[in-house]
């Protein structure tokens, strides 16, 4: 193969580059990423998508945006090609202000609920243990965890565990998260007015994504919508639907906070 490449090198530079592109993913098989499929967004991320072996923090902008944050994670994981198991570690019943995941709601968002293993924990120590255990087993395709407080050292440990096994770890943090952490990215997820069809019915949820921190990348803000049938992210159409003209003019792509 090397000889062939060297041979080609003399004549066609473009061919060589194509050949290298074809070979490279095999060489660095471990450095996979989860792309959004949106060039504008992926270009901000170091590997053209969310790094697989890394810790990603997802923070809902307001408490009521918790569903949007869960939806964002579900959308990313719904896009995985190989439908493998997912482990979701959440505090036990009664310690979650915003209810629990609903199987039919997951189906509606394009994620098969049978893929999900729910792990309920009594305290933070158990949550961290269960997350690490799931990462080390390298059985699931990804691990989702909800945790309230996380110091720098713990986050470093989680980041290491994640990069060792090459599994993405999504941590859901409560709204005012200000501690520094070793996470590869930190996303603030807010809601935006949903895409509606001509009868005014909601067809696609829209989220306001704010990439606040990104190691080896650039922060940014976008409004994206998610199509659960095609498992596809897209930017909202340039012209908002007439039925939303009023609200669109009131709140154009700004970080909206509820009064």
């Amino acid at each position: 193969m090397l000889q062939k490449t060297t041979f080609l090198c003399r004549d066609h530079r473009a061919v060589v580059i194509d050949e290298l592109r074809r070979l490279l993913p095999r060489i660095e098989g471990t450095h996979k990423s989860l792309p959004f499929g949106l060039a504008t967004l992926d270009s901000h991320l170091p590997e053209g998508g969310l790094t697989c072996g890394a810790l990603h923090e997802v923070v809902p902008e307001t408490e009521a945006s918790a569903a949007a944050a869960f939806g964002f994670i579900a959308a990313i994981l719904g896009r995985l090609l190989k439908p493998r198991l997912l482990v979701c570690v959440t505090p036990a019943y009664g310690r979650r202000p915003y209810g629990r995941l609903h199987g039919h709601g997951l189906t509606a968002l394009g994620l098969d609920p049978t893929r999900l293993i729910l792990v309920e924990t009594a305290d933070r120590k158990e949550t961290l243990w269960a997350i690490k255990e799931a990462l080390h087993s390298s059985v699931p395709a990804a691990v989702i965890g909800a945790i309230d407080k996380l110091d720098l050292r713990t986050s470093q440990r989680l980041q290491l565990a994640s990069s060792d096994t090459g599994l993405p770890l999504f941590l859901l943090r409560p709204a005012p998260t200000l501690e520094s952490s070793a996470a590869a990215t930190r996303w603030h997820i807010g809601t935006a007015e949903a895409a509606r069809d001509r009868f005014g019915l909601i067809v696609r949820p829209r989220w306001h994504l704010h990439l606040e921190r990104c190691r080896n990348g650039r922060p940014g803000q976008w409004v994206v919508e998610y199509d659960h049938v095609a498992h596809r992210f897209s930017f909202p159409a340039a012209v908002a639907h007439p039925s939303h003209a009023r609200s669109a003019s009131e709140a154009p792509l700004r970080k909206t906070r509820c009064a």
Binding site: A66, A74, L101, H102, L116, T191, P205, W207
Partner: protein, 526 residues
């Protein structure tokens, strides 16, 4: 067979050397149910009225009998005895409820013979629990029971095949008969078991249809007597007696690993793997700690089992009291399942097999540490009521297909629908604004209603309704109570100005089921 009659007569004596009795209430006043040696020496007997006993003896210590506590203590004693042999069976009420059977077949050689085993058992019963025991070994449970009660020496081993000769001189009571049967036999002139042996059977069968002949046959080994063990006897069992008691978690795990290592050979030979295990830790002071472990897939791996035990011990660490240390450690496989041998030398294990195995290891570990109920999966249920439309059972490895929902369903469902203050243009119209959890949300778009009626077939039986009072307010309230379970809900998917999407419902059809619109928030959409 071996029967140990542990006298639990001196459980909480105020002064052990003074006469002491336990009493039960009966017709005609309290009667003695148990007594200690000092009381026996003074001529008191079981079932004597307490008043008579007090008249005979000047000083008498009396406590009420606690049958439930006695039963519990007997269970614990039988559990403790499993470190001699795995099948121990505490005596039921018919047997007197004051001892246990222990099946020592195949276990006595470990102690150097049956005599040495019962000597050790008697010594430990006295040392650990303070019970002076009467123990007998025989081929049948019935004979062992009779000899333990009525033989002159406290420790006795009956050579095989001599039941008839040994039982013949014993009184009729040695056959474990009901008191009325015993009384009738005595009236008929049968004083000893021997008197019954050579008599024709038919008249006895006609006269005593219930137990007499069966008890006789059981004692002589003509018919089998099933014993009910205190814990299910294991399929495979490994036990280790330790010279020095152990205390630490590491030591326990190390010994458990070694025990599992010895079991692995047997498991491999039989092509099976362990699905359920029990680790028994026998404390020096007689208490037994047992740890049950259930596995997702059959396994033979000593490392895996040792790790699970480690996790379990860690979780129990706070409650676990090593006390004086553990002197014996036993690992039993209570359920084994076939586990085909796999070729691993020449062809590498396929990735799928490997993953299934690692999956089982992960689930086992999570369950051991967090409890079996904390690892769950989603399962759909045929119901229109959203909170009933799915359950979260403990993970069982069976995946069921999810029905596609036509209607929108929220991603997060609140554990209980929360009341909200809603402003709507008309009482049965969509909401315009609502106040919930301290915030007012202006609604910009509402979809619905999706009408979900209550499941009338689940309705509880109606309470008797009071007479019509004529008061419309009161009547409507009763109507509301009656239909509480079947109120129809109108669900709306609403979006507020910030883009938050909620699932609201109005309870009851306005004007037909309810006079005022009650609104609830039930879920959040992504």
């Amino acid at each position: 067979m071996l029967a140990a009659q542990a006298k639990r007569r001196c459980e909480k004596p105020v002064a052990p050397d003074e006469p002491f009795v336990l009493i039960v209430a009966s017709s005609g006043g309290p009667r003695i149910s148990a007594l200690n040696q000092a009381a026996e020496d003074l001529g008191l007997t079981v079932s004597e009225p307490l008043a008579d006993a007090r008249a005979k003896v000047g000083f008498l210590q009396v406590r009420a009998a606690e049958p439930a506590a006695d039963d519990n203590a007997l269970q614990k004693l039988a559990l403790w005895a499993t470190h001699y042999a795995p099948a121990a069976s505490p005596w039921s009420e018919d047997n007197g409820a004051d001892g246990f059977f222990l099946d020592v077949e195949g276990a006595s050689h470990l102690f150097g013979g049956e005599e040495k085993l019962i000597a050790d058992l008697a010594a430990r019963l006295l040392k650990n629990f303070g019970f002076p025991a009467q123990i007998a070994v025989a081929d049948t449970a019935g004979a062992a029971w009779a000899l333990s009660r009525f033989h002159s020496s406290p420790l006795f081993v009956l050579p095989p095949g001599q039941e008839t000769a040994a039982l013949a001189p014993l009184p009729i009571a040695a056959l474990r008969l009901a008191p009325d049967t015993r009384a009738t036999l005595r009236r008929l002139g049968f004083k000893t078991v021997g008197a019954l042996l050579d008599k024709p059977r038919a008249p006895f069968a006609a006269r005593f249809p219930n137990k007499l002949l069966r008890r006789l046959d059981q004692a002589l080994g003509r018919i089998d007597e099933p014993l009910k063990p205190v814990i299910a006897p294991p399929v495979y069992h490994a036990l280790r007696y330790l010279i020095e008691p152990i205390f630490t978690q590491q030591a326990i795990v190390a010994y458990a690993r070694r025990l599992m290592g010895t079991l692995t050979h047997v498991l491999t030979r039989d092509d099976v793997g362990a699905r359920r295990l029990r680790l028994c830790l026998y404390n020096v002071d007689g208490a037994v700690e047992s740890i049950d472990i259930a596995l997702t897939l059959p396994t033979r791996s000593a490392d895996h089992v040792a790790r699970l035990i480690d996790l379990k011990l860690e979780a129990l660490a706070a409650a676990n009291e090593a006390g004086f240390g553990f002197e014996t450690i036993g690992l039993a496989i209570t359920q084994a399942e076939p586990m085909p041998a796999r070729q691993t030398e020449f062809t590498p294990a396929s990735e799928d097999d490997d993953r299934t195995e690692r999956y089982a290891v992960l689930i086992d570990a999570l369950r051991q540490r967090l409890g079996p109920q904390s690892v769950r999966c989603f399962e759909p249920v045929e119901s229109h009521i959203p909170e009933r439309a799915e359950i979260l059972p403990p993970l069982n490895g069976e995946a069921s297909a999810w029905p596609a929902m036509e209607q929108p369903r929220p991603l997060l469902l609140l554990p209980r629908a929360e009341p909200a203050k809603v402003t709507a243009l008309v009482p049965d119209g969509p909401p315009r604004r609502f106040y919930w959890r301290g915030e007012t949300h202006e609604i910009t778009g509402a979809e619905g209603p999706e009408r979900i009626a209550g499941e009338w077939w689940r309705q509880m039986p109606l309470p008797a309704r009071p007479r019509e009072s004529g008061d419309p307010d009161l009547d409507s309230r009763f109507r509301g109570d009656e239909r509480k379970n079947v109120l129809t809900r109108d669900y709306y998917l609403v979006e507020d100005r910030c883009g938050h999407r909620f699932w609201l419902y109005r309870e009851g059809i306005y004007g037909r089921e309810t006079a005022q619109a009650n609104w609830f928030v039930h879920g959040l959409f992504a």
